[in-house]
Amino acid sequence: MKKLLSHLDWLESEAIHIMREVAGQCSNPVLLFSGGKDSLCLLRIAEKAFRPGRFPFPMMHIDTGHNYPEVINFRDKKVRDLGERLIVASLEDSMKNGSIVLKSNDEPRNKYQSITLLEAIEEHGFDCCIGGARRDEEKARAKERIMSFRDEFGQWDPKNQRPELWDLYNAKVHKGENIRAFPISNWTEMDVWQYIEREKLELPDIYFAHQREIVRRDNSIVPITNVTPLKENEVVEKIMVRFRTVGDITCTAPVESDADTVEKIILETASTSISERGATRLDDQVSEASMEQRKKEGYF
């Protein structure tokens, strides 16, 4: 008899296997959940991996305080529906206790997420964080392990990674060190959308085309919000946009789009000419190596 799994079945099965390895090997893991599409795939995979039991880990959101309200509402509803536990670790708290000092108030906060994340890891004693990062996102991520070792300062050392062979994962750490586990490492943006379609996953509204007030700034579309206000001499436009990634408001830009269903987004993704982060992540464009740099500092 000969049989092969379809690519989505194969990817799903691999991701379930990775999540169960985390549960089997680690004593105190946590799943990072932002309300974004990749972490929503992780939640469906966790359901398939552990139901009818409960998740063997809580979820945690690293909250920059600069969120689209739709995403936070969605996050809270999702947690209620699942009946699981959510921890919110907030950058505002790190700012209050003095571990984060902003250079200016309107500075993008993404890079400071690492500090709050590391503080939360220490406070709760987590030995593994499950994240929704994918290798196709960015070239530093292309060399990332599925189970990636971080030292007690949360640092990633690209030159000294544990070799990872077959489906044998080594998640062993000493106290204070931790593993970042990436079950959807081998997924592309397209795979994620196809999975969302197949599993009929609900998403925050901002992923779908909607009217929004924006300005065009340095080749990017910047939405007008209270943390990204209009500057002098800029002209507000109201256009149809959707977000391809969801994160801190100050560094996530939408794209012009009429795609208001998952099916249309899949067709648009198949014919797009700009990469996911290239289009929408204002923070990655600073330098060629900025993701690599942030990962070395403890970013996930």
Partner: protein, 428 residues
């Protein structure tokens, strides 16, 4: 607009050095299948110009970390993706140099196919033999030998044919001989784009498939031997929820099928305990299924309440396989620290782990000549035949017959680093 269809996955690796144009081949595959998007391309164009090049250097597509760019070399495996609508491809791009044997071994461990690159001007080199040996050692069953840089030998058919003949001749003698592999040959010019995705106009004499066509048409399905079920238990689900009485006593066993077929009503036993039961139900999430095939992650419940925990192995009752405490395997050593024959290491195998002692280092492979040599010490990138004694019995198979249950990694008990990986060779 193309409708995106339901396809299968093919994982392959590329073997070769920078000089063979490995990065250009990958770059060309990604570029010609339109995987490279405008913003990435414009970044590459910028860098090419900075380097004073007139054409876009496609090898920059696979350019990696800052540290690697500074040194102008690849030091680690990178994973890349493209999709054609028929298949989703995962490329493991590993540096080919001798001192990176461990990276090649890592990349090969998950690959179903290896593309071995040969520079048409140079023909078969020592590294070609090394790459072929490693691909076979790691159980890769399909090889594509791509003779690159045909443009630099004026697309000469005779020279191409003689390289192919040379390759066939030496491949016959490369062990492990027990694993017959399927070999395809083709001439390419990655730089000009000939025979990668498009045929080009320069090799009318070649009537075979292009590289992409070979990848698209390759049959990777294997016969599933129903009787060789291996289902390592990864996780035990016991909800014990007080609100839901039905769930209070519920127990299910979770894991991924490594080999064989598992069906509802199958008579199974648990190893090493030997306790027997019958499969009551198989699920993927909410969905009940009648049978599960290799690589499927499933949840299983049994007709009887028997004690099973992570690390146990479910097999069919008729299977004579048992757990053993001694085995021999080919080991690739990864760590900078040499193997210490008197130390105890941790062996991780399927979902089980066991302390292990080295009983003997039998021989080492000279990676240049592929001859066996006497050895007293094992260093980074060495490959050797080693016998182990285990603290816990493991259910193992010959690697060449069963990758999932024949593979293991070696972990340093004090640093927790992965210091080696091995492939089990069982003697009859």
């Amino acid at each position: 607009m193309k409708k995106v269809t339901n396809n299968t996955v093919l994982r392959f690796m590329t073997c070769g050095s920078v000089d063979d144009g490995k990065s250009t081949v990958i770059g060309r595959l990604l570029f010609d299948t339109k995987t490279i998007l405008t913003d990435t391309l414009s970044q590459i164009e910028k860098t090419s110009k900075k380097k004073g090049m007139t054409e876009v250097d496609l090898s920059l597509i696979t350019d990696g970390l800052q540290a690697e760019r500074e040194q102008g070399i690849t030091i680690d495996v990178a994973y890349r993706y493209f999709s054609t609508g028929k298949r989703k491809y995962i490329i493991a791009d590993a540096p080919g140099h001798e001192q990176y044997t461990r990276n090649m071994v890592t990349a090969a461990s998950t690959a179903q196919l290896a593309i071995i690159l040969i520079d048409a001007r140079k023909g078969i080199l020592t590294q070609t033999k090394r790459h072929t040996y490693l691909a076979k050692l790691l159980g890769i069953k399909h090889v594509i030998v791509a003779v690159n840089k045909m443009d630099l030998i004026n697309y000469d058919e005779n020279q191409y044919n003689s390289i192919c003949e040379d390759y066939k001749e030496f491949e016959k003698n490369i062990s492990p001989l027990s694993s017959p592999i399927n070999i395809n040959f083709l001439p390419i010019s990655a730089l000009k784009g000939d025979m990668i995705v498009d045929r080009g106009n320069s090799m009318e004499w070649y009537h075979g498939a292009t590289l992409l066509q070979l990848l698209e048409d390759l049959d990777t399905s294997e016969d599933i031997k129903e009787s060789s079920l291996r289902f390592p238990i990864q996780y035990v689900c016991r909800p014990r929820e007080s609100v839901n009485k039905e769930l209070h006593d519920f127990r299910a066993f979770m894991g991924r099928i490594e080999s064989g077929l598992l069906k509802v009503n199958d008579k199974v036993k648990v190893l090493p305990s030997g306790r027997e039961s019958v499969i009551k139900e198989i699920r993927i999430g909410e969905q009940q299924i009648e049978e599960a095939i290799p690589e499927q992650s499933i949840t299983v419940s049994l007709a009887d309440e028997i004690d099973i925990s992570r690390g146990d192995m479910l097999v069919h009752q008729s299977d004579s396989v048992g757990a053993i405490k001694n085995f021999t395997g080919m080991v690739c050593w990864f760590a900078e620290e040499p193997l210490a024959p008197n130390r105890t290491y941790l062996i991780m195998h399927t979902t089980q782990a066991s302390k292990a002692k080295i009983t003997s280092i039998n021989y080492k492979i000279n990676i240049q000549t592929l001859d066996s040599e006497e050895v007293s010490k094992l260093q980074t990138n060495d490959i050797a035949n080693i016998s182990f004694k285990l603290a816990q019995p493991l259910v193992v198979d010959n690697y060449i017959e069963n990758r999932g249950t024949g593979a293991f990694i070696i972990v340093d008990e004090s640093t927790f680093h992965t210091v080696g990986a091995g492939m089990i060779e069982l003697l009859d």
